[in-house]
């Protein structure tokens, strides 16, 4: 398999996951606001913070209002992490790899792109927001399902899976980071809304129900952190994503270097005691973790995409 093709399907996996997660984020933010009194509502800027898009937003005219931020995250082509930008990238990566992917996948990605592109210049008012975003999440899941159900589980598939899981792990850390730092800042430890906020964190990762089933205790900080970082059964937990990454790597040739990096990170994650990580220490830990995820990406790139001339 050509490295270029491998790299393109890897990014296809990443961008599709990014589209889905971004849509989820707006959705959850939208729902959380409806449950909370004004004074404890997390600000909309938090969304920008999670996506690391504050700077890009600042470069464009417009105040950080709800309307502007949602439009920016949904349909702004100047924003490299908007849904439309990620979808454009997913589609471009797919155009040249169509031959190795089931043909329905191209049709699905293409029609999802077209439906988002049609809306991208308009606002996303509250009345339609849920329907539009939900459709995006469902389409992404459909595409993931199509790939899982109709594609040879060969090297190409493993690269898509690598991209998807690495992106997922990265996004989970971002959501937890934003939640623990920005989100809780203005809510008192004893506030009755604290619980609601942690629930919304779980919800943004579709983790609430699974948490209940798996953890079987009330929703509180320590339990939520352990679940989202260390669970080996919940698909959006960081440890689980790393586990998936390792299993994909093992199915690829020349995997020693990359596998060592991913396995090292998972081991370290398993041994972390999150109850001792408070406030700034947690933020620093997450920062370091995100850099380690970048290391995993580099290990993948060096192992399979980049070549030293000889």
């Amino acid at each position: 398999m050509l490295s270029r093709v491998a790299e393109r399907v890897y990014w296809l996996g990443r961008f599709l996951e990014r589209v889905e997660n971004t849509a989820r984020l707006i959705l959850v933010r939208h729902n959380a606001v409806l449950d909370l009194p004004k004074e404890v509502q997390p600000s909309w800027e938090l969304l920008l913070q999670v996506l690391g898009a504050e700077e890009a937003f600042g470069r464009l005219p417009g105040a950080p209002t709800e309307k502007n931020i949602v439009s920016f995250v949904f349909g702004e082509k100047e924003n490299p992490s908007s849904i439309i930008s990620s979808l454009t990238c997913a589609r471009e990566n797919m155009r040249t790899t169509r031959e190795i992917l089931p043909s329905e996948t191209w049709e699905r990605v293409n029609s999802l792109y077209l439906s988002v592109a049609r809306r991208s210049n308009k606002d996303l008012p509250q009345g339609v927001r849920h329907a539009v975003l939900n459709n995006i999440v469902q389409s992404c899941q459909q595409i993931t399902g199509l790939l899982a159900g109709s594609m040879n589980q060969d090297a190409a598939y493993q690269f898509i899976r690598l991209g998807r899981n690495l992106e997922r792990a990265d996004m989970s850390t971002r959501i937890i980071d934003a939640a623990s730092a920005g989100l809780m800042g203005n809510v008192d430890e004893t506030s009755p809304f604290r619980n609601v906020l942690w629930i919304s964190v779980l919800q943004s990762l579709s983790a609430y129900q699974m948490y209940r089933l798996n953890v079987r205790r009330s929703v509180e900080r320590e339990g939520v952190l352990a679940f989202l970082f260390q669970s080996t059964v919940f698909p959006r937990a960081v440890a689980h994503s790393l586990q998936q990454i390792e299993s994909s790597m093992k199915l690829l040739p020349e995997h020693k270097g990359a596998l060592a990096v991913a396995a090292g990170l998972r081991r370290q994650l398993r041994e972390t005691d999150f109850s001792t990580l408070e406030g700034p220490a947690l933020h620093d830990y997450i920062d370091a973790l995100q850099l380690q995820l970048v290391d995993v990406h580099h290990a993948i790139a060096v192992g399979w995409f980049a070549h030293e001339s000889h």
Binding site: M1, L2, S3, R4, A6, R95, T96, R98, E99, S103, A155, L252, P253, E254, W304, H307, S309, H310
Partner: protein, 501 residues
């Protein structure tokens, strides 16, 4: 035992008179028609088709055409048009009524095409090596000296089998008296063969009855013939040399064909950045297992962009060092760099002399009479008769930058008069031929439309000619421009063995 199931009686339908195809209404006028010899009379090889169509209603034919269009969309057979700003894929236009050539006639054309490519390859090899043809003054040296397609970097190169143009697409046209001429040779990166193959696949789908009744030469083995030819270029004598198709990428108008051929040959489709030339001057492709040696490159990228070290340094489409690897004989390139020197439209006029010089034979397929504007006497004739001429620039393809005298406005004629006077070397002219026609489904009618034929000829260790080729048809009434980029369509081409029927 179960009871027989009760069905309703057949609904009563009133018999309606069926409007079938009436060949007596079809009149190609002064043109040679490929199917009909006179109103109501089919040519011998086309009788079965004409009889079949006589039994069809126009409605039925339209429904078959729609089935073909749908199949083309579903199969994703597209081509790309540059001028539309965005890179838009258009469905490939194919007319379902096939174009038929009798086997006996085809066999002569086939020999003629092989003769022509053999001579042209001897010519190119001579130009880059001993230049005997120039020394013997069969061709003036300044024609080569002034040709931008003569690559001095190739002087002294000796590709395997002495072959430079391995895949050639020669355009054939038929004049009013039935004579077939070679209109031009495409010796660089001719395209269209995938459409030839797809046209056949479509017509087998929508007109299966005709394949049962006729003995039609199959075309489907082209990819394996191409693969064998490419294999014969491998520098390593190994059982399974690594063969790749090199594409400039998705924005190229023929990307569909590149991907198609790679897929059919089981070869990797690579872009320039996928390849690397090592310090050992060998070519490798970057795979997830590491670097892997490449033996033969079927490159669908122009000379200019092939290797930024040697040609255009701003090219990001090619691979640095590729030319060096080829010169050292470490990789086979099809077609070889520099092969384009022989499809200069001025050199074209020398092809009969080239055949005579290298093979000692008369050309089997004649050239269209041509006038070189670089010759003052001929140029005068061209300018005096411009409205009856087709003027072509020496180094353009795809129907760009040419003048069709009979269809041109006064303004266009004046513009070309200027252009020719300014740069005579860049132009040649031919009398406008009365291109032959074939019945084509146009809206609700069957009307004659002009067409040409592009057969594909392979030369490596051996020769191969596609049985038939790609028939291109000008869909606009009266138009002579068949290029798909200029609103042309296509037809499946049948070589029919009448004696086997």
């Amino acid at each position: 035992m179960a009871q027989p199931r009760i069905t309703s009686p057949k609904p009563y339908t009133r018999a309606r008179p069926r409007a079938t195809i009436d060949w007596t209404n079809y009149d190609p006028g002064e043109f040679y028609d490929e199917i009909i010899s006179a109103p109501g009379r089919a040519r011998p090889a086309t009788r079965s088709l004409a009889a079949f169509m006589r039994k069809q209603t126009i409605k039925h034919l339209i429904s078959r055409q729609q089935a073909a269009d749908l199949a083309i969309q579903e199969m994703g057979i597209t081509f790309t048009v540059y001028s539309e700003g965005q890179n838009i894929d258009r469905s490939w236009p194919m007319d379902i009524i096939p174009r038929i050539i009798p086997l006996k006639e085809w066999q002569v054309l086939e020999r003629g095409l092989i003769q022509r490519l053999t001579a042209l390859n001897l010519f190119i090899d001579d130009l880059y090596n001993k230049q005997k043809i120039l020394k013997d003054r069969v061709m003036p040296r300044d024609i080569i000296d002034s040709s931008p397609e003569f690559l001095k970097q190739c002087v002294g190169a000796k590709p395997r089998h002495g072959v430079w143009s391995h895949v050639c697409g020669s355009d054939l046209v038929r004049d009013a008296d039935g004579t077939v001429y070679v209109l031009e040779d495409n010796l660089r990166v001719p395209s269209g063969v995938s459409y030839m193959l797809e046209n056949r696949a479509i017509s087998k789908r929508v007109l299966p009855q005709l394949f049962e009744r006729n003995s039609i030469l199959p075309v489907a083995d082209y990819p394996s013939q191409l693969f064998d030819m490419l294999t014969s270029l491998s520098p390593r004598r190994i059982a399974h040399p690594e063969i790749v198709v090199m594409t400039p990428g998705i924005f190229n108008s023929a990307y569909f064909e590149h991907a198609y051929l790679a897929q059919r040959m089981g070869a990797e489709l690579v872009e320039g950045a996928d390849l690397v030339v090592g310090s050992d001057d060998k070519v490798y492709m970057k795979t997830i297992r590491g670097l892997s040696r490449v033996d033969v490159i079927y490159r669908r990228i122009n000379d200019d962009f092939l290797d930024p070290e040697v040609f255009r340094s701003d090219s990001s489409l090619g691979t640095p060092g590729l030319f060096r690897a080829w010169r050292k004989g470490n990789v086979g390139l099809a077609n070889a760099p520099g092969a384009g020197v022989a499809d200069d439209k001025v050199i074209y006029t020398f092809v009969p002399a080239i055949i005579k010089y290298y093979l000692g034979e008369d050309p089997i397929i004649p050239n269209v009479p041509s006038y070189l504007c670089v010759d003052p006497v001929q140029c005068k004739h061209v300018l005096a008769n411009l409205a009856k001429m087709v003027v072509k620039p020496a180094n353009e393809s795809g129907g760009y930058g040419m003048l069709i005298g009979p269809a041109a406005s006064k303004k266009e004629l004046a513009l070309f008069t200027d252009l020719i006077k300014k740069n005579p070397r860049n132009y040649m002219a031919q009398p406008a031929l009365k291109l032959s026609t074939a019945p084509t489904l146009c809206g609700n009618n069957i009307e004659p439309r002009h067409l040409d034929l592009r057969p594909f000829i392979l030369q490596g260790k051996k020769h191969y000619v596609t049985p038939g080729g790609l028939t291109r048809v000008a869909l606009r009434k009266g138009s002579l421009v068949v290029n798909s980029s200029q609103g042309g369509g296509s037809k499946d081409t049948w070589i029919v063995d009448t004696e086997a029927n």
